[in-house]
């Protein structure tokens, strides 16, 4: 066997391993979805809204994340069926018409809040509060999101903290559905996340209208159902970002809170990995939960450039977080996470753009120069394109059957799932390598 053939085989093995891992996670995720379905998760959870045993929640959102009509957003949240919760809205601009609107709509009054300083954080500049204390509007300095979240950790009253992402609209009864894993108590649950879908999905949860959004949805479904839902059963996910995450406040405080210098996505990813570290060091049995149910809708990319920018932000956050906690790698102290999950995450997620680019470049060049034959080249294409396309089709089947979305679009849907893995994913994986500068320039412009 020639050296060139060995290189090609390595590339094939790399892709086979990557997508076999995803297929395995997908099966685990599917099993989890079935398990919850069999237990009548939805139906039984609905009964909780009358219960007094449900732990109360502090919901955190940023005024800039609430869209153009924050009053509507707040109204919608307050119409949620949940025994007890409060909403803390953060903002930094002193004269914002939306603030005035909220103050008028909910008769908020400025108060000097006395709060428990559980963690180091900046002080609030102004606090406006409704008479029933359910809504607080908090002005802070312009600070990284991590620092603001630490302030919220101090200001919040309740034992659970729901952190809402940019432009997120919550699904109906989402708080009641997300709180249940904290009540089950088989092992400690420090965080609960759930599936996110595009805001722009058409009626009856059909595919969104724009093409890039469609591809982006397919890719997102693969990541969520093909990794995040199943990963907790194998000691993961290493890190994750969800448009809506529910944390146990006590664990967050014990893990040291959010990194005050990090922006939003990075801070959340970082705290997840630090939660892993803390709980494993304490030898506490724990289990992250990623619900195989839609919990939130957020704006998905509508243009290719948006998609690449979002992807790059995610990759940058992953890199920063992995690098910051690199000492966990190959440490038996961190169990499966340190010995399997983290190394696999480095090889198959962090280094994927680089290794993928090298694999494609090498195999194409070798084939063009006649160093490898048709069978090997076809084998490479099958493992890097056709196999992931199967994973994509699998996620669509899971989404249709278990999430109850995308029903009634038949073959078209599988076509998108197939095509997404055939080209969109390959381009997406490589794009951030080439568009770093463009992305930065556009970000500066915006």
């Amino acid at each position: 066997m020639s050296f060139y053939s060995i290189l090609t085989y390595l590339a094939i093995i790399y892709y086979l391993a990557l997508y076999s891992i995803q297929m395995f996670h997908l099966l685990l995720g599917y099993r989890a979805a079935l398990h919850w379905k069999k237990l009548g998760y939805q139906a039984e959870t609905q009964r909780l809204y009358r219960s007094e045993l449900v732990p109360p929640i502090s919901v955190i959102n940023d005024l800039d994340f609430m869209g153009s009509d924050p009053v509507e957003w707040v109204d919608k949240l307050f119409s949620e069926r949940f025994p007890e919760f409060e909403l803390l809205v953060m903002y930094s601009c002193e004269s914002d018409p939306r603030v005035e609107e909220l103050i008028k709509a909910y008769f908020l009054r400025r108060v000097d809040r006395v709060y428990r300083r559980s963690i180091k954080s900046p002080a609030p500049l102004e606090v406006f509060q409704s008479d029933d204390r359910r809504l607080s509007l908090i002005r802070t300095e312009k600070l990284p999101r991590g620092a603001i979240l630490n302030l919220v950790l101090n200001l919040s009253k309740y034992p659970l903290l729901a952190v809402v992402g940019n432009g997120v609209q919550m699904e109906k009864d989402v708080l009641i559905r997300m709180v249940r894993p904290f009540m089950e108590g088989r092992v400690r649950v420090p965080v609960v996340m759930g599936m996110e879908l595009p805001l722009e999905m058409e009626d009856e949860d059909l595919l969104p209208p724009r093409r890039i959004t469609k591809y982006s949805l397919m890719e997102s479904l693969r990541v969520q159902l093909g990794y995040q839902v199943g990963a907790p059963y194998l000691g993961g996910p290493v890190t994750s970002y969800s448009a809506l995450a529910l944390f146990r406040k006590k664990d967050l405080l014990e893990a040291g809170g959010f990194d005050p210098n990090m922006p939003y996505m990075k801070a959340e990813m970082d705290v997840l990995l630090r939660l892993h570290r803390y709980l494993r060091e304490q030898k506490t049995p724990y289990h992250f939960v990623y619900l195989p149910q839609p919990v939130a809708r957020r704006p998905f990319p509508e243009r290719w450039s948006d998609h690449v920018r979002e992807l790059k932000a995610r990759r940058d956050s992953i890199s920063a977080v992995l690098w910051a906690q690199k000492d966990m790698l190959f440490r038996a102290r961190y169990g499966r996470l340190g010995l399997i999950q983290l190394p696999a995450f480095w090889i198959f997620v962090k280094l994927l753009p680089l290794l993928g680019f090298c694999a494609y470049a090498v195999v194409i060049v070798l084939f063009a120069f006649g160093r490898i034959g048709w069978p090997l080249f076809a084998g490479f294409l099958l493992s890097s394109m056709a196999y992931p396309a199967l994973v994509g089709v699998g996620t669509v089947i899971a989404a249709r059957r278990e999430l109850g979305i995308l029903k009634g679009q038949g073959g078209l849907l599988y076509g998108y799932a197939f095509m997404t893995q055939l080209w969109f994913r390959q381009f997406s994986a490589l794009a951030p390598l080439f568009v770093t500068r463009i992305g930065k320039e556009r970000r500066l412009e915006s």
Binding site: R109, V111, F182, G410
Partner: protein, 426 residues
């Protein structure tokens, strides 16, 4: 070239064949689903119209002699879920006569966990009460899924025997189990009260704590003395939950034990006792609650302040006194509560209506001295009358607080610009 064309055509044929198969499968799926639904609807109509007149035995013998068992079971389960008055027993009897009960009972011993779990759920949905002892055993099954299903099934039955069996599961110590038992207890109504009182004397602290908590929802003043006794329980959780429940029952006779609980060494108990006294709302307790504002634990101060606020006018006097307390925590917490209770706006309103109010100015000045100036700043800006604003500012201008001075300057600037605007319009 010919070979390439052949392979392209072959690929097209393969794709078309796959697509055709897919369509065929979909059509068959829809067809069978429609048939299934139609058959189920027929069964349902027959059962609803005939069971009352003929009884379960004859209905099954004469009208449904050879039904499709799977569909009939599904129909009966749905009817069991609906649980209409007077139907449950008949549905359970039909389920038994159809041989489903025997089959599911047998499956409770299956080696396959999904079968055990499914059987338990089905029995629970039908409400077959003679299966309680078997379901009770499943509460200790190795598999979580099965244990949950047993809990669900027992909860659906809701008899005393089922409740007693469920209480055994409390030892699992998770909130979800407590929730399921609490639901069943609540649905059982008065019958469960005595059971809970007995449970308060259980040697297991987890069970006692559960009983103490659930009694807050189902018990009345008659059971309050039992909860008051539980305030002396050696377990913190039991004491704290008992205090919380006494607050929910709101019986005036519980005040004394709750006041004693304010001396408890554990802050969880003190904070719940303070909250409970707020719910009861007796004015005599306000002075004692003010002392809790000095507590070293934030939650006790917070709950005591909330309790005083809940008391309304009765709580306000002691809160105002607490503004001069030597303890910083007490001062700040009292100030926050008074601010939240719109004291600043009310004082300004009183001054506007009845002239100078020395006590009112004294309170506002004290709030400003403490540094509680949020509402004050807003009021200064929003105040329509310049004369009153001037008087208020003159009362506050000597206080050394940069933020307050900035607010006063802003208020003055805003007043001047309003005046100029008025002149321009004039």
């Amino acid at each position: 070239m010919a070979a390439v064309l052949f392979y392209i055509l072959l690929a097209v044929v393969v794709v078309l064949s796959v697509f055709a198969c897919y369509l065929l499968v979909r059509i068959l799926q829809v067809f069978f689903k429609a048939r299934r639904l139609e058959a189920m609807k027929n069964y349902e109509t027959i059962i609803y119209s005939a069971v009352r007149k003929l009884g379960p035995e004859k209905t099954l013998e004469s009208l449904l002699p050879s039904p499709k068992t799977q569909l009939l079971e599904e129909v009966l389960l749905r009817m069991g879920d609906e649980g209409a008055e007077g139907w449950r027993d008949k549905v359970a009897r039909l389920y038994e006569l159809g041989g489903f009960y025997e089959k599911r009972l047998h499956q409770l011993d299956s080696r396959v966990k999904s079968r055990r779990s499914r059987a338990a759920r089905y029995i629970g949905r039908i409400g077959a009460q003679n299966a309680v002892s078997r379901l009770k055993e499943l509460l200790w099954d190795d598999k979580e899924e099965v244990r949950d299903s047993a809990l669900f099934a027992l909860g659906r039955m809701g008899t005393r025997e089922a409740l007693e069996a469920m209480l055994a599961a409390l030892e699992r110590g998770d909130r979800w189990t407590e929730q399921k038992v609490a639901e069943a207890v609540e649905e059982a109504g008065d019958e469960s009260r005595q059971l809970l009182v007995e449970l308060l004397r259980d040697p297991n602290p987890e069970r006692r704590a559960f009983a103490a908590e659930v009694m807050g929802k189902v018990a009345g003043p008659e059971e309050a003395p039992e909860l008051a006794k539980a305030l002396r329980d050696p377990d913190i959780d039991v004491r704290a939950r008992s205090a919380g429940s006494l607050g929910k029952i709101s019986d005036n006779a519980s005040r004394l034990p709750l006041l004693r609980a304010l001396e408890d060494p554990e802050w969880e108990v003190r904070s719940q006792a303070a909250k409970a006294l707020g719910h009861i709302g007796d004015a005599e307790d306000a002075k004692r609650l003010v002392l809790c504002l000095r507590d070293r634990e934030w939650w006790v101060r917070q709950n005591a302040a909330a309790a005083l606020r809940e008391m309304g006018a009765a709580g306000e006097g002691p809160l105002i006194e607490a503004l001069w307390d030597e303890d910083r925590f007490a001062r700040e917490t009292a100030a926050q509560v008074l601010e939240e209770a719109s004291i600043v706006e009310r004082i300004i309103e009183d001054i506007g209506e009845s002239g100078d109010d020395i006590e009112g100015y004294r309170v506002i000045r004290r709030l400003a001295e403490i540094g509680c100036i949020g509402t004050l700043g807003q009021v200064l800006l929003d105040m329509p009358e310049d004369e009153m604003r001037g008087r208020l500012i003159s009362h506050l201008s000597d206080i050394k607080n940069d933020e307050l001075q900035t607010m006063i300057d802003r208020a003055l600037r805003s007043a001047n610009s309003n005046e100029a605007e008025g002149r321009d319009r004039g």
